[in-house]
Symmetry: C2
């Protein structure tokens, strides 16, 4: 399987797959012509990575998770710790964004949005 096929299967762009190889997440074999050859294990890893990234795990977390996945002697506590840490960061981020949203929402609703210059949004930013 060449990179294009694997891209279709995993939903990851070829560029991303090459990048993952570059940073050592996968090590596909090479054909005589220099093309990457993907085996099932590579495809499997890429799918794993795609899902971990979709859950917002950083590349470094993905590296850790992949290593744990391949380690038969892992402790589930190690996996849980990574996930929990990440979950905490997501919750923090959500809280920040909600605070922004609430403020912005107020401001947007307070703004007439007409062709006069008077604007509560700018007023707030300038703390006039």
């Amino acid at each position: 399987m060449n990179i294009g096929d694997i891209a279709k299967r995993t939903g990851l762009p070829p560029k991303t797959i090459r990048y993952y190889e570059e940073i050592g997440l996968i090590r596909p074999a090479r054909d005589a012509n220099g093309y990457r050859v993907f085996r099932d294990s590579d495809t499997h890893k890429l799918a794993f990575l795609g899902r971990a990234r979709a859950l917002g795990f950083s590349i470094e977390d993905c590296r850790t998770l992949l290593a744990l996945y391949e380690d038969e002697a892992r402790a589930s506590a190690d996996v849980k710790r990574v996930a929990q840490e990440h979950l905490g960061q997501i919750e923090e981020k959500i809280a920040q964004l909600q605070a922004m949203r609430d403020t912005l929402n107020d401001l947007v609703h307070a703004c007439a949005g007409d062709n006069r210059p008077d604007c509560p949004i700018l007023k707030d930013l300038a703390r006039e």
Copy 2:
């Protein structure tokens, strides 16, 4: 006022202030010794920028907002459009993060977190 004083006043690090000058958001004057000299208008702009950034506006949005702020003939509709667009992106982001959080939350709760290898988190990522 030198950059350190302004940093304290605005809460923005000196590095950030220099960066804002570099990308043309502000144009502080210079003293004979080469030091930046900040007038009230600069300080005011920096405070404006700090608040806009705290609401999550991109630098380019900040540039636009600052231009609108200085344009006496602006239409509040232009400001509102920028804010509304941004608000939409924040809401989208919140929704994404909430979806991640929900999934992660389930997975984390399903994981024993002990020293056995069996782990629902990895199972999910691997779609076993």
